[in-house]
């Protein structure tokens, strides 16, 4: 199984600022996924980050708002830009289990925008 470390675990930010969330995996993975979990709701995929290429964003999410970096096979960052209170959510990164359909999830970053 993969061990995923996310930083920060939580943060309170002022509106209009940006926050970068880091995701570190203890093994090399081709694909990493970023999800958002709004209060009281389920997880929604933001984007898929492949090493060496641009991230692929889901409908409703854009690169200017959620820029993603994927500099190597064990690390990715998600930035939440120009934040508003509507961005208050838990953000989780996820990696697939190699060769299997299941996935592992980080513990999430709980973001509150005030």
């Amino acid at each position: 199984s993969a061990v995923i470390s996310q930083k920060p675990s939580r943060d309170i930010c002022q509106r209009g600022t940006s926050l970068t969330i880091q995701c570190q995996v203890d093994s090399q993975v081709t694909m990493m996924f970023w999800y958002r979990q709004q209060p009281g709701q389920s997880l929604t995929l933001i984007a898929t980050a492949n090493q060496g290429s641009e991230a692929t964003y889901e409908s409703g999410f854009v690169i200017d708002k959620f820029p993603i970096s994927r500099p190597n096979l064990t690390f990715s960052t998600l930035t939440v830009s120009n934040m508003s209170p509507e961005d208050s959510s838990i953000y989780l990164c996820s990696v697939p289990n190699t060769g299997l359909p299941e996935a592992f999830f980080g513990q999430g970053t709980r973001l509150t925008v005030v």
Binding site: Q41, S42, P96, P101, F104, G108, R110
Partner: protein, 113 residues
Amino acid sequence: AQSVTQPDIHITVSEGASLELRCNYSYGATPYLFWYVQSPGQGLQLLLKYFSGDTLVQGIKGFEAEFKRSQSSFNLRKPSVHWSDAAEYFCAASASTGNQFYFGTGTSLTVIP
């Protein structure tokens, strides 16, 4: 379009009672199915998964789930609930290896003494 539905937003059970959490999916073909649990302040932990074969799958912490193709369901069960089972439970589906997951809206479980 692919979707996963969890009809029950919140369930309360007494400790020691049995539990069943419902999950229905809508997919073009039979997807891979999962149940995850999220305890307060924690990430998602995989309880069990269904890929193919035996439709009754066993998971960790005494949970099991049954896949019923005719009903497009994958309900989670536990014969005797413990107070530590109080958490948010998510049903999820994936079309293939390495693909994105589609999650249900979650069921919040409260266990009363």
